[in-house]
């Protein structure tokens, strides 16, 4: 199995398109810091001024929260309210908030993870279909290795690619953050709103938790693309469908909101943070419910992929 994964990685990283994708990811991680970094003059907390800055901010938020328009949108309301609670926490406990720095940028960088999902979908969609396109599938499947093992090695390679991409992204993001925003310590702490209350927590722990949640979506979409690509043996189709669904997923949910079965749709369950920081999309769903739904989808994707790869003939092109 080790040799098979090594083969897949070799094939993946000898293709120029893989490098183009990773370079895009690195550029995003590097320059993204200018998008998330607050204007330095506006909020540079010092011992003298941080209280007034936060108080002023919260006055603004209070006004916003009373606005009927804000109250109409529950998600937005929650979001604004959480900012308020976090500020209150700093003031009440007399802790100066951290100035923006490398670790905070890495944490904010989770917002760019859909790009990594996209790249992983492209890799997942191609890793089987391309063998058919190149014709090399015939030489690959006449070895003394079961098709199940070959398929598994390809799937593991996709996940490995995602991990490599993720590590690269985080490292570059930290470096960019350190250069443009400064280093905010070895293990800095911030106040965050989670599970209905504000906690003072290490950013690094937050990074792993938040990225972990985001990866659920990545793994589900990559597995979906992988299954479609083995089923139809066509990478363009698999990329198209997967990216469309990834982009349109939340709109689909809004569109079908009223249906009683809408909560069983994959995209209603891929964002598990709805149970920790936000409001569940559907009332009455729980973390356990979503995990069960995700597992059912996952098993379906894997079985579809496995059946179509191992049971079908490799006929002429």
């Amino acid at each position: 199995m080790f040799n098979l994964v090594r083969n897949e990685q070799m094939k993946l990283f000898l293709q120029k398109s893989t490098w183009a994708m990773l370079i895009a990811l690195v550029l995003m991680a590097f320059f993204g810091v200018f998008l998330t970094k607050p204007d330095s003059d506006e909020v540079k907390y010092t011992d003298a001024n941080w209280r007034t800055i936060l108080e002023k901010e919260n006055k603004k938020i209070e006004k916003n929260l009373k606005d009927p328009e804000t109250q109409a949108d529950e998600q937005y309301y929650q979001y604004v309210m959480q900012d308020y609670e976090v500020n209150e926490y700093y003031l009440k406990n007399d802790i100066m908030p951290l100035n923006y720095g490398a670790w905070q940028y890495v944490l904010d960088g989770k917002g760019f993870l859909p790009l990594l999902s996209l790249l992983t979908i492209i890799v997942a969609a191609g890793i089987v279909a391309n063998e058919y396109r190149w014709g090399s599938i015939k030489l690959l499947l006449i070895r003394p290795i079961t098709r199940t093992k070959i398929l598994l090695s390809k799937y593991l390679s996709v996940l490995l690619f995602a991990l490599i991409g993720l590590a690269l992204f985080m490292i570059v993001a930290w470096i960019a953050g350190a250069i443009f925003a400064g280093v905010d310590g070895l293990n800095p702490k911030v106040a965050v709103y989670t599970d209905g209350k504000v906690v003072y927590d290490s950013i690094i722990a937050r990074v792993f938790e938040d990225y972990g949640f985001k990866l659920v979506n990545l793994v589900m979409m990559a597995t979906f693309a992988f299954a479609i690509s083995t089923l139809f043996r066509n990478s363009a189709l698999a990329i198209g469908i997967s990216i469309f669904l990834m982009m349109a997923g939340s709109s689909i949910i809004v569109f079908l909101m009223e249906k009683s079965w809408a909560k069983y749709i994959l995209f209603a369950n891929t964002d598990l943070t709805q149970y920790t920081t936000g409001v569940p999309i559907f009332k009455g769903t729980t973390l356990g419910f979503s995990i069960t739904v995700l597992l059912v989808y996952y098993v379906i994707f894997v079985v579809v992929s496995w059946l179509s790869f191992t049971k079908r003939d490799v006929a002429g092109s």
Binding site: N3, L4, R6, N7, M10, K11, L14, Q15, K16, W134, G135, S136, K138, L139, L140, L141, I142, R143, P144, I145, T146, D313, V314, A315, G316
Partner: protein, 308 residues
């Protein structure tokens, strides 16, 4: 152990309700070069795909060195090296990287072995270049190299001389014969070039409409049916006079084909006949030994209009 490298027993394949392989039974001995011919759509490629496990058998059995490709896939596949249709390797990798890739999928293929195979197919220079830049002939060679890496006991080659220049074809022929004779490898070659098959193979199987219509030894076909009689081709003028003279001299019935006469006689008698004809003022331009080519046999068996 059996001396058959590959055995097919009543192999059938249906796609949908259509049966495309209708019960193939034949075997290939160790060290034998077996030619597999037939018109397009006869089922050659389907049969080869079943031999290597790319397609499943609807019924029947294929054994490689006694191991079933159906129930003992891994043991059977270990003994096969193959090119199925075109040798399609990874175009963005070098020849060497491609070989390393396939070597890793078999146990015990060392770097030395890869080097050995590269030398065998004569790709020492090109092996560092990307396969995408290879000519068809080089691709054919790298295809054969990947098939030989793990020292298979059965080598299956689909159109192996496709795209090779005349020198390449000769080398390929020598390689294949050498593998069969020295390493006791059974080689299965499918081709539409009948003359190629004739030069390379020991036996030929002709397949038509999913059935084996004939299996015969090539070497035997080249020899006269009875040792005494020889096919003779004679170019002589005037042709009609020659024909009647031959009949008058020793009751030989010659067929006129354009400027040529074709007949059979004992080999020892040829000089005598030539001298006799010359004595009768017949202008003799050439005398040659004729033989029924595989192509003629092919069309005899298949009929002229086989491609439906």
């Amino acid at each position: 152990m059996t001396e058959n490298a590959m055995e097919l027993v009543d192999v059938r394949k249906s796609i949908g309700s259509k049966e495309i392989i209708k019960g193939l039974t034949f075997s290939i001995k160790k060290g034998e070069v077996f030619g597999f011919i037939g018109p397009n759509g006869a089922g050659k490629t389907t049969t080869i795909r079943m031999m290597v496990g790319l397609m499943k058998l609807s019924s029947g059995e294929i054994r490689i060195d006694g191991k079933s490709i159906v129930s003992e896939y891994k043991d059977a596949a270990r003994k096969i090296g193959a090119i199925v249709e075109n040798p399609e390797l990874y175009p963005f990798m070098t020849g060497w990287q491609n070989l390393v890739h396939f070597a890793r999928m078999n146990k015990g293929v060392t770097n030395e072995r890869i080097k050995e195979v590269v030398e065998l197919v004569g790709l020492e220079k090109a092996v560092k270049e990307k396969v995408g830049k290879y000519s068809l002939g080089m691709r054919q060679r790298i295809g054969i190299a990947q098939a030989l890496l793990h020292r298979p006991s059965v080598l299956i080659l689909d159109e192996p001389t496709n795209g090779l220049d005349p020198t390449g074809i000769r080398e390929m022929r020598q390689h294949i014969r050498k593998l069969a004779e020295e390493e006791n490898v059974a080689v299965i070659i499918s081709s539409h070039l009948l003359s190629e098959i004739e030069l390379m193979c020991d036996r030929v199987g002709m397949i038509q409409n999913g059935k084996m219509v004939a299996v015969q030894s090539v070497r035997d076909a080249e020899k006269p049916d009875t040792p005494a009689l020889q096919d003779v081709i004679l170019e002589a003028q005037p042709i009609e006079k020659s024909r009647s003279l031959l009949y008058a001299h020793s009751k030989i019935e010659a067929k006129a084909e354009g400027d040529l006469l074709r007949f059979q006689c004992e080999k020892d008698k040829i000089p005598e006949l030539v001298a006799y004809l010359a004595g009768e003022n017949i202008a003799i331009y050439q005398v040659g030994a004729g033989k029924a080519t595989l192509e003629e046999k092919f069309f005899d068996l298949m009929g002229e209009n086989t491609i439906v």
